[in-house]
Symmetry: C2
Subunit: 476 residues, 2 copies
């Protein structure tokens, strides 16, 4: 996940599940056709008994590895996922995406002068480059660091104080907010500095911009991510290093030597993987189940977002396994370039603009693989009652909540949602998601197999229900 | 802390505090002279009101930085601590220590061939060198990795399977054991592979030895530490990378390219800082309060062990602040070279061998700065009752437990304890200590100011009591 997404994931909600369940039980929701209800329960149970999704993540992360756009690994992942989906009997197409390729380079930083500095030494600063910005030379730059806690503070300093300096946006991720369930809100509050910081600093003549890593870990790991191109080097330092620099700055001028040689390359040709399980009655009507296949390069992209791709694949696999044949087409998409420029979903929206009206639902999982409490439903109000009996199937695994967050349910399905297509994210427990997200620690061990199965169950049940229910949900 | 130390730190103990308190209340312990009891309470309260220890750690970690033996930072720290202790009015000596200097070099690793490997790519492995072993060339070595889970498994493989290979000891730190309070025990169980692994692998002809990081973090950070010199390169990979290698190895041969250029340099001249607050009646009798000043180089050595040095300094400071004049000499020691070869305490034992009998007590804090539950007392049985009223002073801060762990109460006071001197460690809550210990994340933010004050209170109360009580504790 790379984009702003306000994600309400409150502990209260977890506790509130009991109440939600009661509410479902008490409300007279329209019931499902008995055959559909039985099939949905079978899909749920099959998902909970399968290790297919886990094995997909293991292959994508361990055998293939990090999958930044344009890398050999991303291309291998495209071929691998396409092959797996063909093996499931789906009609697979690779749909072309042209996207910029950003390649990480050297990245080092050290404080070379500050109060109490021991002659001949330098304090190492752990830094990582943000995608999409400009490099330093291999020799790097040396400049004073200006520490600010907001854009307001930056503007108040003005260009005289900022020009030629390295600006550090030292805005802490609100760990308490994240731990109490509002991880997305905590993310949004600080990620604006990652996204906009370089631009705002450049406007005042800064030589480079750094952001305090956007995430809750306290293990001195840096969080990469995208930043709006400003034409200056941009990076993230760890929370610990931001504290160090801020503490030393409060005692006097701090000079940093900074090397960030990551560069933008020419656009590459890459692909969304699009795989159809054709509908029996309305093959032209499409329900998307999806995640994104590209990842950042520091970790191996397990929670962000091999997990999303894997549960979408699993949804199709168990529909096949149970020999179900939905009325509408169930389309698995493994999106490309979610993390950087969103060229994957742009290409899809362009290529499929004529059939936008035929998309009857779209689901994306892109907030990890924590326990799902239900769905983030971006649907017409009239659709909510019709969702209830579907989600009730997920009650035994505690995933029956229907909630509507602010913002998008998923970056890649945003164009569809904007066009009125009922859109869904999965309401994962994301309390620790942003500790690992975009870091070297986004690795296979962060996947809890049981929770992954729950996510696959949500994807399969909702995806199949949307493809099979007698009438599609009303558009927004 | 570098050495094996069985540290019982059970949640049961925390809960058991109530019982311990009751036990103290119910047992008729010998009482303290009222004046001493009053002074001890005043020392405790002064420690709880002071930020001196925290400021010392801040300076040592942020202004000076990592302090590996022989580094300019270690020497600056010696001068700084000596200066601070002189300012407190203590008699300060720098006592010479000759110690080997080990200097970290390049350290990279990548998997270059394995099942499913994407041509032209390599999977990055996060590795750090272990101190004291031999370097690879700058070009590194490339060899197959042999994964074992025990020395027994290694021996069973034999030299034919191991010769010329890179051995990975994939023994997981027992996180559950650590979380339930037995952090030291968990550490001991896996640290033998860090300490002995290279020697054992070399004996079978291995080209290099790697150990799964000894610690509980799951943030892909490597834990450095000492290893017995074997004449081959030795390193630690993160838990995540150990899993990756083990998973891929289960699918076929895994080849790694490994660069670890850390080297041993010539011995350097460095120092223990020894600072006396002379006793009024028996200046020749000595009570040591101490921590170690050297640190590993990845982090800034806040919990390991600027904290120990700082609480020892704080103990002396508040004795001075309260204008107390103990009968015996209170000696602050900031030890050098605890982490690598223990040359600091060896030099002290040699230089002070004639006065060993005059040492009446020794305390070292080297397990971080978590909430102290009491002391790890290595004393004669007859001494325990006399400790009770002293420790009772610490009951209001929940630090009154008297416990005796197996092993040493502190590496640097071990020679003293072996010579019969009553020796004490502090029973810190170490449940998360080994997540940060020897990693880049051992930084100032890991110090909780209130808990640090509690540690200073324990050091001050026990140190002063040993120096002032009418009769010294009996020797062991």
């Amino acid at each position: 996940m790379s984009r702003t997404k306000i994600h309400l994931l409150c502990f209260c909600l977890v506790i509130g599940l009991c109440h939600a369940r009661q509410a479902v039980a008490q409300t007279k929701a329209p019931s499902l056709p008995p055959e559909l209800a039985k099939d949905l329960a079978a899909l749920r149970d099959a998902a909970m008994a399968s290790d297919y999704a886990y094995r997909q993540i293991a292959h994508l992360t361990e055998n293939i590895g990090p999958r930044p756009v344009g890398s050999p690994q991303a291309e291998a992942a495209v071929q691998y996922v396409a092959g797996q989906l063909r093996e499931l009997g789906l009609e697979v197409r690779l749909e072309e995406v042209r996207a910029p390729r950003w390649v990480r380079g050297l990245e080092t930083a050290e404080l070379v002068d500050y109060s109490g500095h021991v002659t001949g030494t330098a304090q190492k600063v752990v830094v990582t480059a943000l995608g999409g910005n400009s490099p330093t030379s291999n020799d790097g730059i040396t400049a004073e660091v200006v520490v600010v806690r907001s854009f307001t503070e930056l503007e108040a300093l003005g260009s005289r104080a900022v020009s030629g300096k390295i600006v550090l946006f030292n805005v802490a991720f609100d760990k308490k907010k994240a731990a109490s369930g509002y991880a997305g809100e905590a993310y949004d509050e600080s990620v604006i500095y990652r996204g906009q910081g370089a631009l705002r600093a450049k406007a005042l003549g800064a030589a480079a911009a750094l952001v305090r890593s956007v995430g809750g870990a306290d293990y001195r790991i840096p969080h990469t991510g995208g930043s709006r191109a400003a034409g200056i080097p941009a990076g993230a330092v760890t929370a610990e290093d931001a504290d160090l620099i801020a503490d030393l700055s409060s005692q006097g001028a701090v000079r940093m030597h900074l090397v960030l040689t990551g560069v933008m390359k020419e656009d590459v040709k890459t692909f969304n993987v699009v795989a159809d399980l054709k509908g029996t009655e309305h093959p032209e009507q499409i329900v998307i189940v999806s995640g994104h296949l590209d990842s950042w390069d520091l970790g191996t992209g397990a929670i962000d977002d091999a997990a999303g791709v894997a549960v979408a694949m699993e949804a199709a696999r168990i529909v096949q396994q149970l020999n179900l044949h939905p009325r509408r087409t169930l389309r698995v998409i493994a999106w490309m370039d979610e993390e950087n420029f969103g060229r994957g979903h742009e290409a899809y929206a362009r290529a499929h603009s004529a059939e936008m009206q035929n998309h009857v639902g779209a689901i994306e999982s892109d907030l990890g693989a924590g326990h799902p409490m239900g769905v983030d439903a971006h649907v017409a109000i009239a659709a909510r009652d019709r969702l209830k009996p579907i989600m009730q199937i997920l009650e035994p695994i505690g995933a029956n909540l229907i909630h509507s967050e602010e913002g998008s349910p998923g970056a890649d399905i945003e164009p569809l949602v904007s066009a009125g297509v009922p859109g869904f994210g999965i309401l994962q427990d994301a309390r620790t998601y942003f500790n690992y997200h975009h870091t070297p620690a986004d690795t296979l061990d962060k996947i809890v197999p049981r929770e992954l199965q729950e996510n696959a169950a949500v994807m399969a049940v909702l995806g199949y229900a949307l493809a099979e229910m007698p009438e599609p949900l009303p558009r927004q």
